[in-house]
């Protein structure tokens, strides 16, 4: 599994040229099986636009997205869904459905309009719930879950989709630190088991610990890319986020062998 995006340009059209907004001005990159790529950057940098483009929700003005060499625009809706799953930041509305029925929605690309879900579909739902530590939530209503549980269920639905590529949009929004860590551990585990994952996040320190590589977007362009040491450095971040950051390093025990990783705090330490 290899996702390539090449020189993506996208413009939100306004009534005049001045009102139009160039959200992406030539962004390239790739995600391969086993990788967890974190896309970071300030608000309005084009992160969500990039996810929409990779998910086939919007077509780029120029540039292209290919999956294993095949342009994503050539895939049918169902074929695309079998290759790429999206974990949205939030849902427009929460339907009053049970968790297992909701996760079954991930199997849509495999269903025929003339028959209900098969035993294989049900099994895929059970496996996905299990992988996301959601056993026991099957009979709960989606509307009554906590934020952390709901995020796990959203990831479970993407897993039920069976796609080798996951696009995850700010999965830790409004979660407490414990749940934030748990979500990233889950994503890292899924990447290790062979999935390709691209995650958009503001959590620089979680990206530092778990991402295999980082992409820093700014005003529609890639400002910096590489490992955490390179991207989470004063040289890369200060021109974009300003001077109010404090940088440091700390041992990370989530990998073998444990290693030092950079961390960044929004903390004015006064030595500017």
């Amino acid at each position: 599994m290899e996702l390539h995006f090449n020189d993506l340009v996208f413009e939100y059209k306004g009534n005049t040229a001045a009102e139009s907004l160039r959200a992406l001005r030539g962004v390239s990159g790739q995600v391969r099986a086993g990788e967890l790529v974190a896309v970071i950057g300030p608000n309005g940098a084009g992160k969500s636009t990039l996810i929409r483009m990779l998910a086939g929700l919007d077509a780029p003005a120029s540039g292209g997205v290919t999956l294993n060499g095949m342009p994503i625009a050539n895939l049918s809706h169902k074929e695309r869904a079998r290759q790429v799953a999206v974990v949205p930041q939030s849902l427009v509305t929460l339907p009053e459905v049970h968790v297992d029925d909701f996760v079954l929605g991930g199997r849509y690309a495999f269903l025929s309009p003339w028959r209900g879900p098969s035993a294989a579909d049900r099994q895929a739902v059970r496996n996905a719930l299990q992988a996301c530590d959601c056993e026991g939530l099957e009979g709960r209503l989606l509307t009554r879950l906590s934020g952390g549980q709901r995020q796990r269920v959203l990831i479970a639905r993407a897993l039920a989709q069976g796609s080798p590529l996951l696009l995850v949009d700010e999965p830790t929004n409004s979660l407490d630190p414990g749940h934030q860590l748990a979500i990233f551990e889950l994503l890292a585990e899924l990447a290790k088991s062979g999935r390709a994952i691209l995650v958009v996040t503001h959590e620089l320190n979680l990206a530092s610990q778990f991402a295999t590589s980082l992409v820093l977007l700014d005003r529609g362009r890639v400002a910096c890319r590489g490992d955490a040491d390179k991207v989470l450095s004063p040289a890369a971040l200060e021109p974009i986020y300003g001077k109010g950051l404090t940088f440091g390093r700390m041992e990370f025990r989530g990998c073998e062998p444990s290693a030092d990783r950079p961390f960044v705090l929004p903390w004015r330490s006064g030595d500017e």
Partner: protein, 359 residues
Amino acid sequence: MSRERNFASPRLVAGILVVLLVGISLGSLELGSTERIGLVDTLRGLLGWIGIGEPLGGSLQTIAELRLYKLFTSIGVGAALALSGALFQGVFRNQLASPAIIGVTAGASLGASIMIILLSGATGSFFLIERAAGYAPFAISAAAFVGALLTTAMVTMFATSRGRISVPTLLLTGIAVNAIVGGAIAAIQRFAVEEADLMRALMTWTFGRLEDRSAFHVATIWIGLAATITIIPRVANELDLFATGEDDAHSLGVNTSRVKWVSLGAGALCAALAVSVAGQIAFVGLITPHILRTFTGPSHRSLLWLCLLGGPVLLCGADLAQRIVLGHAALPPGVIMSLLGGPFFLLLLMRNRSSMEAW
């Protein structure tokens, strides 16, 4: 596995609705605006109508046949309105959506009003009654149908940009177009206000009408309904996934623009046919899916099918109930549905306020 909310089995609900519909149908054939026809005679009249047995004597056979036409029109109209309502609510992700929102009802009324005025002639003699009583119903139905489709097409066109329908724009455009068409209808009524016959014909349309229907009306609504039913399996799963937003449905593999076009087109067609054969009947499209959802849950895989039974039960049931209570003073179906349906809907809203917010 325990579930936080248990819904009734769709099959059970379907069974109950079938029993209710059969009972209500038999009651409607027996009780009408004129004399009472016993059950046995009703069945004999039915057999006579389809040409198997001897027809009933005297005017009874005609009365029995008129009741059969009324019944089959009502069943078709109830099913079409309810199905249309469920499709619109699914696409708009809003339980308050109904065919009226995108101008179907107003457009049909405008078409019918214009045709009634055209048929009335310039001299003021009422053409519809005096000269072409047999021909006018076809023309009025056809004009209503064209009016409904033209208005829907106009609303949809305004809300479409680069091949995509924007649901919020559609709702807002619908409000604007409804206001314009409503103004045009009022203008026509103002023009006709001096003419008692003309005014009566216009009003009859606004109140809804299920009496004096013919084989033409039955065939129109049933053929349209049969055509629409074929799309149910093609949109049911998809509309379930629409509940979490179009982008979300798209990423799960749903061809969202196809589902929107097919559902809105079929819903508009159903509603336009219903309005063109029976005039304006409010609330059936709004309430039926709402009531069914409280029993069987939000899944469109059962909801769309159950609407085909629930709509007729509601429309024919309300009509039969008021005939039993009011007798000869029975009100037109549009009026009775508004008077019964409105308060009932308010009651539902009060009871379900919290879950409505979650939707």
